[in-house]
Amino acid sequence: MTGRLLFQTLIFPGFVFTAVVGLIVGWVDRKVSARVQFRAGPPFFQYFNDIAKLLGKETLIVRDGVRWLFIAAPIAALGTMVLAATIVGSALFLGEGAGGDLIVVMYLLMLFALLVALGASAVGNVFASVGAAREIKLLLADELAFLLVCLVPVIQSGYRLRLTEILAFQSEQGAVIGSVSGALAFIIGLLTVQAKMALPPFHIAEAETELAGGPFIEYGGPLLAFWKVSQVAMFAVFPFLLILLFWGGVPTSAGAVVGLVLKYLLIVVLIILIKNTNPRLRMDSALSFFWKWAAPAAFLAVVLAVFGV
């Protein structure tokens, strides 16, 4: 039992699988973005080379700041992403609950944003603190919409929080996305995931052109590699979570596995296209987007789901 859990956490739906899928999809992201801009784009092993290079560089520790938090934050962030990937992945691929339900996943995903802010506040850099403040504001903006979106499949499956039970419900009754409330929640979910992954138009915290990397400005070498791997790991966690909640079914046949990969690629390409066609929002416009439009629409989806539409 312990060995199986360790295997799940470290190898198959956990660390190794998530990192490899994330690094490959990170390349897909950069390649598609380059093609959208009529550029050639980086070679296939680009992200692997980047990470190998970062791991071999010098580690610089801040002098003014909280040193242990500076080192602990990126490692803990990678840990939370791997745990979230393990829980989502073992429910989706293996059809078994790996010691956690939807609440745990939402908690872990929220913890990641908090760790980014904590790691940024540990360095004593003005740009990093502005980035941390923005990260928390963005969390306040998108969290409500994200919670309401996640509620829809829970309500539809008869108030079940276990991921395997949500999947089993979808295998019997059809995917949640087939209903009106499910489709509405899925669309808002896509936009919310964009903010959760801190991709354009919601890369307000990182903001390369104004904050020069924001929360990650003082991180270099292996610690930056931890941040980079956990960022690309989000490419594995969030689309699979959306598939699990809205478009699910345990893949038992070969056709279902191909279908799962196609659904995954569709969601990833949608995310990349939204990323490439939108400029960065100001903090207040992002807040008003989520509080005035996304959250009420998600609430409408919840109400529709309660009435069984």
Binding site: A40, G41, I217, G220, G221
Partner: protein
């Protein structure tokens, strides 16, 4: 080290150090990122923070005011780091070499590994310089 250097050669992240330039080289540097030249196909990326950098791209003649800041930036970059001087200014001082505020010995401020002369150098010349650096790293 050979294996690591080949990884490094495929993923050079560039930080742009403006050491009192006239802005002409800076404009030409940005052209390297456009679809026509697209240095991202070599894995080269402009980064906003010196902590992420592998290459410091120095443009401009280094004057007395920025010299301490340039030295500090070089100290803040995690090793291994390479310094590339873009334009005639870091190479020879250009028309500002007798100016009252230009530092006398640029190599005391920051050790430049590779010079790309030109006022400004064409993007092709910069690409050639980068290819030379990559060639040295590959051995």
């Amino acid at each position: 080290m050979g294996w690591y250097n080949r990884r490094l050669a495929k993923s050079l992240w560039v930080f742009h150090v403006s050491a009192s330039p006239c802005n002409n080289c800076d404009i030409e540097i940005l052209e390297l990122l456009t679809p026509r030249y697209d240095v991202e196909r070599f894995g080269i990326k402009l980064v906003g923070s010196v902590r992420h950098a592998d290459v410091l791209l120095v443009s401009g003649v280094i004057n007395q005011k920025v010299a301490p800041k340039i030295r500090r930036l070089y100290g803040q970059a995690p090793r291994p780091v390479f310094v590339v001087g873009v334009g005639t200014c870091p190479t020879s001082g250009c028309t500002f070499k007798d100016s009252y505020n230009t530092v006398e010995r640029r190599e005391d401020v920051i050790p430049i590994d590779l010079y790309i002369p030109g006022c400004p150098p064409k993007p092709e010349a910069m690409l050639e310089g980068i290819v030379k650096l990559v060639g040295v790293l590959r051995g």
